[in-house]
Amino acid sequence: MMMYRSLFPRDVFAELDRLQREIQQGVDFSPSIRGVGRGGFPAMNIGGTAKSVEIYAFAPGVDPASLDVQIEKGVLTVSGERKLDAVPEKAAVHIDERFAGRFRRVVSLPEDVDAGSVQAKYRDGVLHISIARKAAAQPRRIVIQ
């Protein structure tokens, strides 16, 4: 990053935001063309082992029946709807930060996943999807004759 002093001081928050984005871009190890948006609902964590790809979608308070997980052409889509309790009449809303409504998030999967071997569990408001990698892609010990 080039350091320079600007003539007009910029908004410090915008500057911090930009800095954070740059740092994040340097950290994410596989930037995808679809990216993985920040601040969407549900928030997502993604990880992997030699045998599987693990996706965690933080979707609290969702009726599991409304959750839909699909894998098509190497892309995982998580969608659903979150309904919040109705605000009673004559009530005042002081803070309103929680997401409500339909949601959909898309993640590009590595090429070696086996779309036929997927497990999805919803517990404590977290949807955990585990997708096995194809056996051929797993590290194997080669016997030397």
Binding site: N45, G48, F58, A92, H94, E97, D124, H128
Partner: protein
């Protein structure tokens, strides 16, 4: 109980980093309802406590992570949520009711009896 309180104070003084859960706060005539999104916290790892006029919601995220997993992307990057609220005097902190289901905490904090709305009768002379 007292031991529990001491542990919590020690935790608070450590000032360990935590995420701020999103909340909704709705007030009606009889009290306040607070909803907080706390995904990934099992029921036994959620703690609620009221000290003086401060209500603190705190909990640890526990995920089922296979051995040897390497994270490639994390939007939930800290293992803990914490948020504190100052309660106003008319709220009855002793009568807080809590429900925790699928990562959503619902708290009902009633107004003290003396603060409940009363209809004043107007005598027509």
């Amino acid at each position: 109980m007292s031991e529990n309180v001491t542990t919590k104070q020690a935790d608070a003084t450590r000032k360990d980093a935590a995420m701020l859960p999103p909340v909704d706060v709705i007030e009606d005539a009889n009290g306040i309802t607070l909803y907080a999104d706390l995904p990934g916290i099992p029921k036994d790892r959620l703690s609620l406590h009221v000290e003086a006029d401060t209500l603190t919601i705190e909990g640890d995220v526990v995920l089922d992570v296979p051995e040897g997993m390497e994270a490639s992307h994390a939007e939930v990057s800290l293992p803990r949520y914490r948020r504190a609220f100052t309660l106003s005097k008319e709220l009855d902190a002793d009568k807080v009711e809590a429900q925790f289901d699928r990562g959503v905490l619902k708290l009902r904090i009633p107004k003290a009896a003396h603060a409940q709305p009363r209809k004043v009768e107007i005598k027509v002379m």
